[in-house]
Amino acid sequence: MRVIILFLLPIFIYAHSLSVTASYENKELFIESFYGDGNPCKGCFFRVKKDDKKVFQGNLDHEGVFEQEVKLTAPFDVHINGGMGHWADVIIEGNEMGEESDVTNSTNTMMNSIDETKIRQIIRSELNKQNTKIESLIEKNKSNTEKMLIGLGYILGIFGLWQLFARKKEK
């Protein structure tokens, strides 16, 4: 019994998987990365790859965030290296709403002095950032214990099937 407790006890100690969320809007690249226990990936190195070629690289800040104007063309991959074997990837797809920049403000005569398209872009960019932060919070709340239990389930399944076939073969 003691042995079992000794083996299972570490499940309740925090674990370090790495998660990443990112967005690219109006040439602004936003990346946030954190470990399974919610700690930010401080100063972690990241690479932006397009068609397997490095197009940009940098480091996250002490809050595990990178936010800067960068000239990139979506789609591209963001690869974070959390050190000592931890890594995470995220794919930024092409901007589906990009075409909206063609919308004109001819219907709204009251807003002649303001560029409606510009306002739309700013709102979209801010909403996108907020969405990324919400996604990041949801990811943080996902328990690493859950992933471990899934892994244990796989192990049980793989070796269970193995034993089943081995026994059948023996007969």
Partner: protein, 196 residues
């Protein structure tokens, strides 16, 4: 302790795969159905303990318990570790598919060292010394393996390789001490087939 995806050179990946493949095939062919559950248990043990990282300065290390895996599984350690490392790479993002063979080989050699160390020393030295060494040495062997794999991939990894070695020294000591207590417990309950 896991080597990340995309870090190793093609030569190191190919070499480690070529070396590992016969070991895995041999293990699968020779594994008796009665031992499958033991391999599953220790694969699960490694999967859980190596997912838990302990902060150590600017980096972090994790337990591996290679000594006990080696003693209980011998050459079958490679199969147990391969499954655990594959699932870690796919589910949690530790290590990687391209570095799977190198990671399995390093940890497997560590476990095998524990197995032969135990066989060689169990009747020659006091249990407390043997158990400590069985916990301590496999970690050192595995970290040397990691360092070698990194150095063969690129000379730029010299500092990373040195860090991997130094960071695992305290872990090796902790695992050695853990193994002393584990041996005492296992001896007390005289678990069948363990022969401790």
């Amino acid at each position: 302790m896991h080597i990340s995806e995309g870090v190793l050179s093609a030569g190191v990946i190919a070499t480690s795969t070529v070396v590992l493949a016969p070991l895995i095939i041999n293990s699968i062919r020779k594994l008796h159905p009665d031992d499958v559950s033991k391999v599953a248990l220790l694969s699960a043990l490694f999967f859980v303990v190596s997912t838990i990282h302990l902060p150590l300065g600017v980096t972090s290390v994790h337990f591996m318990l290679l000594g006990i895996i080696g003693i209980m599984l011998g050459w079958h350690s490679f199969t147990a570790l391969l499954i655990a490392l594959l699932l870690q790479a796919m589910l949690i993002g530790f290590g990687g598919i391209s570095s799977l063979s190198a990671n399995t080989l390093n940890t497997g050699i560590g476990a095998l060292t524990g197995f032969y160390l135990f066989k060689l020393l169990k009747d020659r030295l006091p249990t407390i010394v043997v158990s400590f060494l069985v916990g301590f040495v496999p970690i050192l062997v595995a970290s040397v393996g990691i360092a070698v794999a990194l150095l063969f991939s690129s000379e730029d990894f010299l500092i990373v390789a040195q860090t991997a070695l130094i960071a695992h020294l305290p872990l090796a000591v902790v695992e050695g001490i853990m193994m002393v207590f584990l041996f005492k417990t296992l001896q007390k309950y005289q678990i069948k087939g363990l022969n401790i």
